[in-house]
């Protein structure tokens, strides 16, 4: 194992190489371009035995990955924002075709207006396409999650998306431990799908199912997604056993006996830790819960970690227009019909990369403490006058 200082994009590149991906197809888009820049170099100089396919669009990038995965090869792509939106059709297809492709999405705001900074609305607006979704807090977690994502995806035959905040991770250098290849090989077995596209065993894939089997196939997809929660938990435990780093699907921080729990994801969680520490030092019962696995939604873990608190302050760096913070609304639905469920405060913060500072998070806690119930279903943090 070696430790290197690297940007989040390059942490992904190293993880993809350690995962022995065989086909990489991508179209560059800020801020994800660094991922495939380094991967293309690795393919060119032999560090990675993979075919790098430069395509003319993100749609083609994912279509290329689909073809590769269909033949039984481990496939990877990276994109961001508008690039992910352009893949939308193929996202549905890959999930329905049960192709365990791994995609790194650098969370970037959608236009109009143009904005290249951190915002989760790009990946969260793809939440219903059938992709497993992970959200990462730091670059080590990014590298580790890519490796885990391949394992989980291939076990349940569903594709997986690993999300990280634009610039706060993609372009920020942090020390990252790079595990030894042999150890990764022990954790992540070779991709061995039940069926493959091969000339000596010709099959048709994705055709109109005979006997009206569409709904049954959808039910099997959904069961696999439900199974993925447990598979992801096991993968996290075994990852910890193998590499010494534990990344639970829902992570708690000083949440024991907390009356008020901050609930968030991505890099805001890192900032929230410091605020929680300060509040705990002041003797207040404040904790934090970080949602890492968003799809499949980990209902049991959410109910278990959040159910005992009096108030939840959910901070969303995303927005469903006409509804509100997406994580908050999913948490509300998970707690619905529970006796003595906590009051959910939904905060929108940091859209388009606006800083969510320790002071702002501290303000969120203060504002949540100040009232019994929120004055509105959604509260906005830091809007300019």
């Amino acid at each position: 194992m070696t430790t290197k200082v690297m940007e989040g994009t390059h942490a992904i590149s190293h993880a993809v190489t350690l995962s022995r991906a065989r086909v990489i197809a991508a179209y560059p888009i800020t801020p994800s371009s660094g991922v495939v820049e380094l991967l293309s170099e690795m393919c060119a100089d032999g560090r990675l035995d993979a075919r790098f396919v430069a395509v003319e669009s993100e749609h083609s990038a994912l279509a290329t990955c689909a073809g590769a995965s269909q033949t039984g090869l481990r496939a990877f792509t990276a994109t961001s924002s508008h690039g992910l939106a352009y893949m939308h059709e193929m996202l549905h297809w890959c999930a329905g075709a049960r192709l365990p492709i791994v995609l790194a999405d650098v969370n970037r705001a959608m236009g109009s207006p143009w904005n290249i900074f951190a915002d989760q609305s790009d990946s969260l607006s793809q939440r219903d396409t059938g992709w497993i979704q992970y959200y990462c807090e730091n670059n080590q977690e990014v590298l580790d999650t890519i490796i885990m994502a391949f394992r989980v995806a291939e076990q349940v035959l569903m594709p997986a998306m690993v999300c990280l905040d634009a610039f706060f991770l993609s372009h920020t250098s942090e020390p990252v431990a790079i595990p030894d290849q042999k150890v990764v090989d022990g954790y992540l077995p070779p991709f061995a799908p039940p069926y493959g596209l091969a000339p000596d065993d010709p099959r048709a894939f994705g055709g109109l199912p005979s006997g009206d089997g569409y709904m049954e196939l959808r039910a099997r997809m959904e069961r696999s997604m439900q199974d993925a929660v447990g598979v992801a938990e096991t993968a996290a435990h075994e990852f910890a056993d193998t590499f010494g780093r534990y990344h639970p699907i829902v992570e708690t921080y000083r949440s024991e006996d907390a009356d008020l729990l901050l609930v968030t994801s991505g890099t805001i969680a890192g900032t929230a830790r410091a605020v929680v520490d300060a509040r705990r030092d002041a003797g207040q019962k404040v904790g934090m819960v970080k949602i890492r696995l968003f799809r499949p939604f980990p209902f049991a873990a959410i109910r278990q970690t959040l159910g005992g608190a009096k108030k939840l302050a959910v901070i969303d760096r995303n927005l469903s227009f006409g509804h509100g913070g997406i994580m908050a609304s999913e948490i509300r639905s998970a707690l619905c019909n529970r006796p003595s469920a906590p009051v959910v405060f939904s905060y929108i913060a940091g859209l388009g990369g606006r800083d969510v500072t320790p002071a702002a998070i501290d303000d969120v806690i203060s504002a949540t403490e100040a009232v019994d119930r929120p004055e509105s279903d959604t509260l906005w943090v830091g809007l300019k006058e």
Partner: protein, 566 residues
């Protein structure tokens, strides 16, 4: 409930958020963004020579006249041609049109039929009785031109329009030279030639026929002229070294054509043999066919090696003329002092000669015979340099003159086939025009200016994507039976509508047509139409030098210039 805390950031419901513009919109013009300072290359409109313009030996502005023809303006197209070439009706018919060989349109389909359009333009001008226009400023300095062929006519035209008093002398009674006494009327109707020569007369050019220099006049006869241009062409048929050439019935093709063209030919019949592969051979054979004979053309090389134009060869075959390749005469055999048959020998291609073509060599023991009471030799023509020995030196069988017609003798200039040996009407016309410029310069104390060869628009600079495919027009031909029954023109006229449509196929390489492609593509909206001067202006405050306009220009009329080189 705790007391309401003091917060460092606002936290509130949207109902209490301030209102503002509903969308991201600049409140001032994008013109505030001075993107011009990003630029390292500057797009520039240029006029570059089109391949057709560069390859026209007469110097015709082909591109310009095609553009005018495309607009349907025959008169303006005609005047544009005549800026360089006073004989569009002639050239539209008999020029071998090198302009078409280099046409960039081949990147899309086929070259523009420039010759057919030129002919239609001339027809329209003749039908409209267009005048030559008055000469510029009248100096009335007298100039002599010896030889009324295409070079002499061209020089006379360009001198007359500069105001000189030009007299053209010729051995033959009527002006035209080879145009009248060499090229048959079925290729060049005499009314067309007379019409274009008539315009020279209207400009004040005088023609003195029936005067052969060195016989009927000499250097003394030129004393009254400030300068003389000599362009006597190549008239004397080359002689082979074949036994029996002196027999009755063995003739020179050129002399035969001259006789037929001067006084009409007499009916004949039976097999005749024509030796040669150039235009004289073809013309001789086709005239003989019209007079009733059954000609066979014998050429010592292949069809592809024939100097005659492929269209002419095809028409000759259609008219029933037989072609025998890789054969050469070894003897003209007579009976009772008159030709009875031609003995020939098969040839085969040997090692390449000076021209790069395989030198034909005889195949031993392969002789054969063609019965014929007449045979015509057309293996080339020599310049009768001896007639002019008094005023112009000769070298290598030609009059010695440079590209500009200067002979080394003050006031004596020479050009056309007699000096260049080029052997084409269009080269002669170009030579005559250059000589006229030189003479004008000489009389006004100026040397001719050699324009540097500008770079032509290469095919790679033409964006054929912007042009639709359109088939090249194919002028009709007379029914063969009618064609060989007389001397009516074989190739039929285009209608003016056909000519206009054909001209509209022109890509106008290297010249802006204000098609707006640059304006449409400019991502900075930095290109604007120039309503006063025409064309476009580039707003350099905003042009960031991306080069899209240059890349997209359909016709290579824009270039990028590095800012530091400007």
């Amino acid at each position: 409930m705790s007391p309401r805390p003091t917060l460092s950031v606002s936290i509130r419901a949207l109902e209490r958020a301030p209102a503002g513009t509903p969308m991201s919109v600049s409140l001032r013009s994008t013109r505030d963004l001075a993107t011009g300072n990003w630029r390292t290359f500057r797009p520039t409109y240029v006029t570059r020579p089109s391949p057709c313009n560069l390859d026209c030996p007469a110097g015709t502005d082909v591109r310009a006249f095609l553009a005018l023809a495309a607009e349907g303006d025959a008169a303006a197209a005609w005047r544009t041609i005549r800026e360089h070439n006073p004989l569009p009706g002639v050239c539209g018919r008999v020029c071998y049109h090198p302009c078409e060989h280099a046409c960039n349109r081949v990147a899309l389909d086929e070259p523009i039929a420039v010759h057919a359009i030129e002919r239609a333009v001339a027809n329209e001008a003749m039908a409209a009785n267009l005048s030559a226009g008055p000469p510029a400023g009248a100096s009335q300095t007298p100039i002599a031109v010896v030889g009324a062929g295409p070079a002499g006519l061209s020089a006379a035209h360009h001198l007359a329009r500069r105001g000189y008093a030009v007299t053209v002398f010729d051995e033959m009674p009527e002006p035209g030279g080879m145009l009248r006494y060499g090229i048959p009327a079925y290729r060049l109707p005499r009314a067309v030639l007379d019409g274009e020569i008539g315009l020279l007369r209207a400009m004040g050019v005088r023609f003195e026929g029936g005067l052969r220099f060195g016989r009927d006049m000499g250097a003394a006869g030129l004393a009254d002229y400030a300068a003389t241009f000599v362009a006597i062409g190549a008239q004397r048929s080359k002689r082979g070294r074949t036994p029996g050439e002196d027999l009755a019935g063995v003739r020179s093709g050129v002399e035969f054509l001259r006789e037929v063209n001067a006084s009409g030919g007499s009916r004949t019949s039976g097999p005749v043999v024509v030796i040669g592969g150039g235009n004289t051979a073809l013309d001789t054979a086709r005239v003989l066919r019209r007079l009733g004979a059954r000609p066979t053309i014998v050429y010592r090389r292949s069809r592809e090696d024939m100097p005659a134009h492929p269209d002419e060869i095809a028409q000759a075959e259609t008219e029933g003329i037989e072609l025998v390749f890789y054969a050469a005469p070894t003897a003209f055999v007579g009976e009772n002092g008159r030709l009875a048959r031609v003995e020939l020998q098969r040839m085969r291609p040997g090692a390449p000669d000076a021209s790069g073509r395989p030198r034909p060599e005889p195949i031993p023991g392969s002789t054969f015979t063609l019965d014929a009471r007449e045979a015509y030799t057309a293996i080339g023509e020599d310049v009768e340099t001896d007639a002019l020995a008094e005023i112009v030196e000769a070298a290598n069988g030609r009059l010695r003159a440079d590209r500009w017609g200067r002979t080394g003798h003050r006031a004596i200039f020479a050009g056309g086939d007699a000096a260049t040996g080029a052997g084409t009407v269009v080269e002669a016309i170009g030579s005559g025009r250059r000589a006229a410029e030189t003479i004008d310069g000489y009389l006004n104390g100026r040397d001719p200016v050699e324009a540097g060869e500008a770079e032509r628009v290469p095919q790679s600079d033409v964006n054929v994507f912007y042009f639709g495919r359109a088939a090249r027009v194919r002028p009709g031909l007379m029914e063969t039976g009618d064609a060989i029954g007389g001397f009516t023109e074989v190739v039929t006229d285009l209608t003016w509508a056909q000519a206009t449509a054909e001209a509209q196929r022109c890509l106008t390489c290297g010249s802006c047509t204000t098609c707006d492609t640059c304006l449409v593509f400019c991502p900075d909206a930095a290109i604007e139409r120039n309503p006063l001067a025409g064309g476009y202006t580039i707003d350099l405050t905003h042009c960031k030098g991306c080069g899209i306009c240059v890349e997209e220009c359909p016709r290579g009329a824009m270039v990028l210039v590095p800012e530091e080189q400007r």
